[in-house]
Each structure stands twice: as C-alpha cells, then as structure tokens.
Symmetry: C2
Subunit: 315 residues, 2 copies
C-alpha cells in the first residue's frame, strides 16, 4: 500500500471498532476491542490506544493522514468529551489532545451521531446533498445536521438532539425529564411497549412467532423483520412510528430550512414503506413551499458509518 489512509475509531459503550479507511471510503482493515466503559478513564483510553496501534500496524507502507474518533456524549470543538452515557469516570476527557500526543498525528474527535452524519455525507446516501438532517433511529432518536457538507455543531457543540423535540405537549414523560419527546414515542423501549400491548389483540402476528411467544424478548429488530416479511401489525406499528418521527423532522425542516432527511439505525432498515410514511408526515408538517422538495431516504453505510465517519473527520 502506498496511498493515503486514515484511522477511524467508533467508540461505543460496549466496544471500540477501529478501521483503516482509504480516501475513497473503503475500509481496508478493521478490529473490535472491548471498551471497558464501566472501568473508567484510563482503561478506556488504553483500549482506544491499543485498537489504534493495531490498525496502524496494518497500514503497511500506506501513509496515515490522521486519526478520527466518534464518541458518545457531547464533544466540544476542542475534542473534549463530556459525560457520555454508560461510561464511568469519563467526564471532560481531552481525548483529542491525548490521542494526538500519543501518536503524533492529526487527530479529530466528534460526537458519534455527527460522525455518522459525516460518513453519509462523504461516502453514503448524502453524497449528492450539501445540506441534510441525518437521523439515527434505534435505542433512542439522535441526529446530526450537515450544512454545506460540514457538520453543524451549534454554538455549544450539542446540536442535533432531535429525539427530544416534543411532538405532544400533553404527551408521555421522557427519560430526559421532558414531556412528549419524539423519542418517548418511538424509541426502542416505547416501541416495544406499544407493540406488546397491541399483540394482545393480534395473536396471529408474525412478531409473536419471531420472539417465541415471549414478550420479554420483544425488540424493534423483530418488528422490523416481521414487517419485511409482510406482517400487518408490524407494518402498522412502524408506519405509525414513522409518522410520529415525521412530525419532529418537520420542525427541524421549518426551523433550519432543510429538505432532506437521511434515516439510519435498525428500525429504519425495515423497508421503503417506513421511509414513505416518514416522508408523508414531514410533508404534512412543513410549510407549503418546502413540500415538493422534501426527501426522506435510508442511510447507506449501516454499522460501518461510525468508522467511516470518524475517518472522514481527517480525510
């Protein structure tokens, strides 16, 4: 190898996935290390370092242009990581400076949803859109905003928290303490709960077969799978959820004058009918001049978005 590559680190609460990425967005090599998130700062940092060293060894003669890291939590403009959920003793970590010092390479740390948004912008579904909202719909609902092919971080670095837009001021309480957040309607926990309730009157649903009749095992992935196979209840639930997501996306489009949403995360992979439901709802919830141009499209990079986006920070 003699081309330029970058190292992309996808830091998660469970594992660290690190890859060697070409300038065109091909992952040439990747590894996976446990994150040791419950053990605190120095253990996590050691694991990150080890995963980068491993990836760097596979660069061969390739010249490493830099290291990008996508991290949960708020990341400020200097790459300081603030209180990511599920990490013990890991607040105000100057991750960017520490990694730069260790490897003496250009290093950039960014919030993970933002990194995934960058990945879709540079290498994925967002390549032809200079401006879009990237949505991760999974356990929760997160987002990253791309303006003129760059991430919009906001004055304090925390922009894109679209999961906590209230779509019903009289609605359910959210984990975050607010009322009616879209995440409190369509996040994993709430979606599973609603499905469990509905299954009581729909014993014929394929979802029940997929979880062996055990409601404890109910997870959105099974709703997705059942929907892909044509299960009616599963499709109903995802269409309803997509419609609710569209209300929040409409708020973002109206506020920032965006037109395009790119949807990532497990649930969104269920099929085109979900995208159609979201799109119809966004169109209903934006001003008329925006409606003809509204687009809602699925993300392209799936689980690799983290590594690719992190590498994209320095490519």
């Amino acid at each position: 190898m003699n081309t330029e590559v970058a190292i992309g680190v996808d830091l998660g609460g469970t594992s660290i996935k690190t890859g060697l990425v070409s300038s065109t967005g091909t992952i040439l090599y990747q590894n996976k290390y446990p994150a040791f998130a419950e053990k605190g700062r120095s253990d996590v940092l050691n694991q990150i370092e080890a995963s980068i060293r491993d990836a760097a060894r596979h660069a061969g003669n390739g010249s490493i242009r830099g290291i990008g890291i996508g991290s949960p939590g708020v990341v400020d403009e200097n790459g300081v990581v603030k209180a990511p959920p599920n990490f013990a003793d890991f607040d105000n970590i100057p991750l960017q400076d520490e990694i730069r010092r260790i490897f003496n390479l250009p290093t950039k740390v960014e919030n993970d949803a933002n990194a995934a948004a960058i990945a879709e912008s540079k290498f994925g579904a967002g390549k032809s859109f200079p401006d879009f909202l990237f949505v991760i719909w999974g356990t929760g609902v997160g987002g990253g905003i791309i303006l003129n092919r760059n991430i919009y971080r906001g004055p304090w670095g925390g922009a894109g928290e679209i999961g906590h837009i209230s779509i019903d001021y009289k609605g359910p309480q959210c984990n975050c303490g607010s009322i009616g957040c879209v995440e409190a309607h369509i996040g994993q926990k709430y979606l599973s709960q609603r499905t469990a309730e509905r299954l009581q009157n729909r014993p014929d649903s394929m979802i029940l077969k997929l979880i062996g009749g055990n409601l404890e095992k109910l997870e959105p992935v099974y709703i997705s799978q059942a929907a892909q196979k044509g299960d009616e209840l599963a499709r109903e639930i995802l269409v309803e959820a997509g419609t609710l997501l569209g209300v929040a996306l409409g708020a973002v489009m109206n506020t920032m004058d965006l037109r395009v949403s790119i949807i990532g995360g497990g649930v969104a992979a269920a099929g085109d009918f979900v995208m159609d439901a979201i799109k119809k709802s966004v169109q209903q919830h934006v001003l008329k001049p925006l409606r003809p141009d509204i687009q809602v499209i699925p993300a392209k990079l799936g689980n690799n978005a983290g590594i690719l986006g992190a590498a994209g920070l320095v490519l």
Copy 2:
C-alpha cells in the same frame, strides 16, 4: 451632518416605513408611505423609491453607506422577494438589484423577521449574545436565527419558520395546512377565540370592559393591557400561551443548541410574567445540560426594529 448613515426600509403590507439610521443605531429621520400592496409591482416599487428619495434628502452632508430593506415573504440570497402574503402581483421581484440600479448604492434585501433579528443583534436586546433565536409573536409566530452575530438563512433562505413547529400532532389544523402548529395555538386569531370562550364564564374580567363588552373587538392587545393591569384571566391566558410557545422554542434549542430566545411582538410586551412562563417551559422541554443557561428576554426595539434591522444590513 458628516457621519456615515444608512437608509433602512421596513416594507409592510400596509405601509412602507423608511428611516435614516446612524452607525450606532439612532434613527435620525423617518417617514411613512402607503405600500399600495394591492396595486401590484410597479406601484409598490414606486412607493419604495419615493420613500428612499425622501429619506436621502434628509441625509444632508451625511454620506449614505447603503440601503437595506426588510420585506415580508421569502427573500433569497440575491435579494429576490418571493410571494409575500397580502401583496398582489409581487412574486420573484429582484428588489435588491432594482433598488441598487436606481440609487447606485450598496443595497441588501432581507426577510423582515430576519431584519428585526439583526436589529436586536446589533442595537437591541441581543447585543451581548452572539447566538440567539428571535421570535415575533403577534398576528402569527415568526422567527429569525442569529448565529455568531449573523443571520442564519438556511440553504434556501427560508429558515426560522418556528410558528409552524407542531407541538401537538393531534392538535388543531393551522392555516398553513399542517396540524398542531404553535401558531395555531397562540397566534392572534386563536388567542382571541380562546379568550372569547373563557370570557363566557368570567364576566368579571377587565378584558370585557376594555372591549366595551363587544367580543367582535377582541384582540390580543386588550388581553395584554388587561394583564398589565393585573387581570387574572388575561394573565392565565398569556401564561398558558407562553407555556405553549416554550414547547416550540425548546425544539429549536435542542436542534440548534441555542440557549437564548428574544421575544418581540405585541403580546410579548404584556410583562415579565409572560417571559417567565416561556422560560419555564423552554427549560422543561430541553435536555438537562441546556437548562441552566436558558434565557428568555423581551426584545428592546419594538416598532423600530424593522427600520433598524434593514439599516443594519448595510451598516
């Protein structure tokens, strides 16, 4: 006079207000012309030209740095005005180029809510805040977003339409065709309707006295006046409305990571208790890290914001 001044034009559906503004934001002279909005393009343009000529005559020896115009409707980055409401035969007007050609001076045209936001940023309540959301709460609910002391226009020039954020996906239909918009809860028409309903059970309210018992005359300004004088029903209604506004502002704060809202428009002048109600609601509807820094403050420039903001475009 020998200092630099700018001409600011506040184009409205009824009248054109044009002023001569010093670089420190003092209005040295102002006039008011009928807009002739119903007569179409050439009549409106003639009136704008006449108002500018009149203002220019009052500049004396002052050197005119340029002409700024705040216009209703969407204004693109080249100062082309698109379909402002209440104007006949006035779509896709290259207002910026036409005025520049006539007067041979630097000219800038901007949406009127954006111009008012710029005014508050340069000369008013926003002077000490590099980033804030400006809200006009009057007939409708509009907004302008200031980032790093500049207007955020969005990729298509229509950003800041915060009145059409849905705060209740099961809520009332809005004029715009969407469901549950905050404007459909607290805009002038809806606020008056709700007040009329409530007055049936509250014959003691001062609002009734202010409108001489004639519900046809009910307008938010009377609710405001009654509230200022301590009327309980009026305060209740405005606290409720402010609380609903806060839900939409929370969506904007979460999305763009802003902390400060500056509230202009007639209703907002009712008193501090409205600001407090909005603030409490915003705090409830944003993520925890944002809460301590949330500020909701009244605009400072009132009716002069239009002229000042327009002049601010070229100052």
